[in-house]
């Protein structure tokens, strides 16, 4: 349900949950800009608040549960306002309360609908019965979804089916699409959690510490080598690979090689989880590469610069008009029969090679 509301963290570019976030990461989704404190009656920021000071019903007409309320007879303004409060926001607070064993007491009574909470519970039954026509429009009981519904069999809302992954009664029996979506995201979440659990124990062979127990979040990442399966912290392996080759170390056979098996890897991929199968590793690498491909290369600089990585660069080589760089490799046959790939030939290279002094 909440998938439709834009994630606030995502909007600021700082959502850590990625695709596992329960809020939408689609820019087209409507943002939820409603001030939650105003809903409870008091917002300390008053007119300077960055969130909208409107009542939830008007701002979220698309929320399924509010569709019931719109059809309700208007008794008096305060009552209407009170009933419109069954928006997703309110339901979650109520659900949280049921967990703390005080199901019928709301955290704070909004100043502008003192009576309304009681109205809610008294009236809903008739409302639901009189208006709902198709079973898919029946709202799902969020108490049951959160773990346990105090009203049990008498509850007017639909009690969802048990989700095999998260073990909660949150699958709506009459909304197949929503079921599917929940199952999918739940399974992914579960997989991610399991992978994280598996990764906990894995130690880096350079610092000898558990990678996921490092002090800062930036360090709690694995560095996957492309050619072998030995685990390291991203910071350890990057430090080693970029350290100065002293004592006659050969860059390729020592620094670029795996510290354990000495297999040469040309790149390192950061990852929060450690993989169990080669398919998983491939998936991590592909996701990483795809992400980099969407970022403009700073060396290429929209065609103004020169990228030393050329066609092997992981970043995007696009000109300012959006056109991608086209590369035609020039193969030169050297005198000894070898073929070399000619890079951009510049006059300065020739001059530099002439050793003029």
């Amino acid at each position: 349900m909440s998938k439709r509301v834009l994630c606030k963290f995502f909007a600021h570019g700082a959502c850590l949950k990625g695709e596992h976030c329960e809020f939408s990461h689609d820019w087209k989704a409507p943002p939820n800009n409603i001030c939650t404190f105003y809903q409870k009656g008091v917002c300390a920021y008053g007119s300077r608040c960055r969130y909208d000071h409107v009542k939830a019903s008007r701002a979220q007409p698309s929320t399924p549960s509010s569709s019931i309320i719109e059809n309700q007879p208007l008794v008096s303004e305060s009552v209407v306002l009170g009933n419109t409060r069954i928006t997703s926001n309110d339901v979650t607070t109520a659900a949280e309360f049921s967990l703390s064993n005080t199901p019928y007491v709301l955290p704070s009574i909004p100043a502008w609908n003192q009576e309304s909470v009681h109205h809610d519970f008294l009236r809903e039954d008739d409302v639901v019965q009189s208006i709902i026509t198709s079973p898919s429009e029946l709202p799902i009981c969020s108490f049951a979804a959160a773990g346990n519904c105090p009203r049990g069999e008498q509850c007017p809302h639909v009690h969802g089916d048990l989700c095999p992954s998260c073990g909660r009664h949150c699958l709506h029996p009459f909304r197949p699409e929503e079921r599917e979506e929940h199952m999918m995201s739940c399974e992914n979440k579960q997989k991610h959690l399991e992978a994280l659990k598996r990764s906990q124990e894995i130690e880096c062979s350079v610092c000898l510490e558990r990678v996921l127990s490092k002090p800062t979040a930036a360090e709690r990442k694995f560095g996957l080598l492309s050619e072998c399966d030995h685990p390291f912290c991203i910071s350890c392996i990057r430090n080693w690979r970029s350290s100065n080759p002293t004592l006659g170390m050969d860059v390729n056979s020592t620094l670029r090689a795996c510290p354990i098996c000495r297999k040469l890897s040309y790149f390192v991929v950061p990852s929060v989880i450690w993989y169990a199968t080669s398919d998983e590793k491939l998936e991590i690498i592909d996701t990483y590469k795809a992400k980099l491909k969407s970022i403009d290369c700073k060396h290429f600089d929209f065609g103004d610069g020169n990228c030393p990585f050329g066609t092997s660069c992981f970043y995007k080589h696009a000109y300012r008009d959006g056109r991608l760089e086209e590369v035609a490799l020039r193969h030169l046959g050297a005198a000894d029969g070898d073929t070399i790939i000619a890079k951009d030939i510049r006059l300065s290279d020739f001059l530099a090679n002439m050793h003029l002094s």
């Binding site: 350079v206 610092c207 350890c236 350290s243 050969d250 020592t254 510290p259 354990i260």
Partner: protein, 157 residues
């Protein structure tokens, strides 16, 4: 600096925990300086160093484990790859083939392996190297055994 300290501390704990795991190696950290270690290693059997106990001095750089520790023999030893006067060791993993996955413990193991399999083609001790290269294995062995008796065994009486 911090990283090397943390890593050495890890190794110290590991050494304490598995003191009995490798009876041939005894690694001791300096009481006041974690960057200075000494090790006692037993000469491998079926070599002229058998029965001797050799003392090694480790000096760990601040960039450890990105750079190898400096190791030298404190006990006099007659070996083609060990400098007779300074105790300096010629071993690739302590120079260009170093890898941060090596630990002080595994360096000790590598040195024991070097004692059993000398590399006369890159000698630091030319006399010893020349003996081996000219095929005088017996000459090398008796010299090495003599120095082991003189320097690496407890004096009798």
């Amino acid at each position: 600096m911090q990283a090397s300290r943390a890593r050495l501390f890890k190794e110290y704990k590991e050494v304490q925990r598995e003191k009995t795991a490798d009876p041939d190696i005894q690694l001791v950290c300096d009481d006041s300086n974690i960057f200075k270690w000494t090790a006692l290693i037993k000469g491998p059997s079926e070599t002229p160093y058998e029965g001797g106990v050799f003392q090694l001095a480790f000096s760990v750089p601040e960039q450890y484990p990105l750079q190898p520790p400096q190791v030298r023999f404190l006990t006099k030893i007659f070996h083609p790859n060990v400098h007779f006067k300074t105790g300096e060791i010629c071993l690739d993993i302590l120079k260009n083939a170093w890898s941060p996955a090596w630990t002080l413990q595994s360096v000790c193991r590598a040195i024991i392996a070097l004692m059993a399999h000398p590399e006369p083609d890159s000698p630091l001790n030319c006399d010893s190297g020349n003996l081996l290269r000219s095929g005088d294995v017996r000459g090398y062995q008796s010299m090495a055994r003599m120095y082991t008796r003189l320097a690496a065994m407890p004096k009798k009486g």
